[in-house]
Subunit: 355 residues, 2 copies
DNA sequence: GTGAAAGCGCTAACAA
DNA sequence: TTGTTAGCGCTTTCAC
């Protein structure tokens, strides 16, 4: 039942050299005579050798630490979602002696980002995964990591100023197009204008949102050039003025459907619409927040686009762990599918293991 | 940078016993005196010991073989898709000396299933992952595996007659509901009847399709009880008669939209509709076959539901490999999300790594 | 019941 | 330039 695998020792015997020499040939390290190299290489050609990763890793007996630099989960439901990715990664990698250490910063506070980053650097982890929310401060930080040659991956937000080992996230432009197409499907028989709704908090991840808007506009532009497309931007986070400003915008532009890139924006909007008897206006929102799921099931929101933040984090850790432990290379970019969520498939997403 | 982990040796020293005794206590094997057991257990309480899986696995030096019993990929595009799951699993598990051995059978030929199963049994693998297409023959086979205590997982098709370690797939009933909801969205402003289309080949996986039909009907039943729902079944696989029968069915029942659970059925149907000037009829199909993707992008199909057969297979292998290698337990059921594919998000699915 | 020791495949240090 | 050997942490065997 248990077949034997080829070992370095076997190769050594076949080539008539020692294991040390075989090791040197395989890893191109140290000095090897031409003759010996040829013998070993010809044996390697013949047989099908794959090294035993377990034994390989067992040799170097360290514990690696991967640091996470992410927004505080207590402050924002979207980032809270991402944390299940940490839990699952923790379970998966613990047996390989990979330690995961989160450092939290506040979403609206660039200083707290810097502080968390400083603390992180002091603890000198072996690798870092981060959502580079604050562009300016982030760039400084990642340049420091570059200098220390600490590998890092980015997720959620793509920035072009530095070069992470890997970026994990979605194509924002295409995400905007998708949102537009869904809104179009919902409202194509109605008169009026589709709109993208920006809410103040959004501004910080501006690249993100600008790209979504571009995709959103492009879709309608290609579909029906005569169709006007509106962007409503609401500044300030006072609830009462939010509602008032929103309704004013809707009436002014005769809005028939709203595309809302901020995950927590859909709830505010749905409530405001209901209060004002405007339930006929369609909503396409983002992410599987508890409130969004409820609204979806109650038909107050029509579609959600799922960004799967937990899996983004999970995959980021995955790539770094493989990089550290097994020297496996990571893709420079891992784009996630743009997942369409409706009342009828949302449960299947909730039940599914991290996928 | 590299912290040390607690080893069995450390525990032994703390408890004042030998590593052998610690091992016996941890794994409850062999004889240990009450006194020794207590000492070791009290140390274990104090400290946070996690065994080194690498070393553990290295100890038992075998190669495991996982056999796959699946439809021949050359005969059916859906099953061909699933094979990328094999490739990726192969890459992932090869370093752990896990061998994957496929055995193919023909989709329309129960005898070939039995033959492949016999061959598989002769090779006595350590585990089996299979799509139990032919109910009757499959049950016999899996009962044999039970007797040999060879663990197995099922994917794609759920059968209740035997108890696999794990089932991997989707909720067919909910999948039918989802299809219905999408079709409803597409056609809600039109008169006529929505229909589910069964094509002859479908019959073999009958449970699957019956469940989808039930979900499909239930959705419309709850949505608008007065709405008639049609089922069109087309027997025989002669192309000409297919078109004729289909068009006849559509006209007779005044069909406004079609839900087509067979992955290759959407193409046949879209072509027939186009030939007959019935392009206004909506189509919701299944799976990311090349032809389906083209039709989706050309607006001949409106939605696809993605079953992700490659990942189903991949996860099946994953669970078995973890079971064999690390004694990790697998969930008895892993339900995949019901993924909605449109012209605007299909590329994001194609680019994504197996997810 | 218990401890000592060999061995899993690979790496790295040390001799030759 | 090569071969030999001592580990890595855990399992398993063997002797006491």
């Amino acid at each position: 039942m248990n077949k034997k695998m080829i070992r370095i020792k076997d190769i050594a015997k076949l080539a008539g050299v020692s294991v040390g020499t075989v090791d040197r040939v395989i890893h191109k390290r140290g000095k090897v005579s031409e003759k010996a190299r040829e013998k070993v290489e010809s044996v390697l050609q013949e047989i099908d050798y794959t090294p035993n990763l377990l034994a390989k890793t067992l040799g170097s007996n360290k514990v690696y630490t991967i640091a996470l630099l992410v927004p505080h989960p207590g402050q924002d439901p979207y980032w809270k979602l991402s944390m299940t990715g940490l839990d699952i990664a923790q379970k998966e990698w613990r047996p390989y002696h990979m330690e995961l250490q989160p450092y939290f910063f506040e979403l609206e506070n660039a200083k707290s980002f810097t502080a968390a980053a400083q603390q992180l650097l002091k603890d000198s982890p072996d690798a870092v995964v981060s959502a580079p929310i604050f562009l300016h401060e982030a760039v400084d930080f990642f340049k420091q990591l570059d200098q220390l040659s600490i590998p890092y991956v980015h997720f959620n937000t793509m920035i072009s100023e530095v070069s992470p080992l890997s970026f994990i996230g979605q194509d924002s432009y295409q995400s905007g197009r998708l949102g537009a197409s869904l809104l179009h499907l919902l409202t194509k028989d109605q008169t009026g204008s589709p709109a993208i709704l920006h809410i103040r908090e959004s501004v910080q991840h501006s690249v993100h949102f600008r790209e979504k808007e571009r995709g959103f506009r492009d879709f309608f532009g290609a579909m029906s050039p005569s169709q006007t497309v509106t962007a409503i931007t609401i500044e300030g986070n006072d609830m009462d003025t939010f509602e008032e400003k929103l309704i004013r915008g809707i009436k002014k532009h005769d809005i028939k459907g709203l595309f809302i890139p901020t995950s927590s924006g859909a709830k505010l909007t749905a409530n405001a619409l209901e209060k004002n008897g405007l339930q006929h206006i369609s909503i396409v929102g983002y992410d599987l927040l508890k409130e969004n799921i409820d609204l979806l099931k109650n038909d107050k929101i029509n579609f959600l686009i799922h960004q799967n933040p937990s899996r983004q984090l999970f995959r980021g850790i995955h790539h770094l762990a493989n990089h550290l432990l097994f020297k496996k290379s990571a893709p420079s970019k891992e784009l996630f599918p743009l997942e369409v969520i409706t009342a009828e498939n949302v449960d299947s997403y909730l039940e599914a293991v991290l996928h």
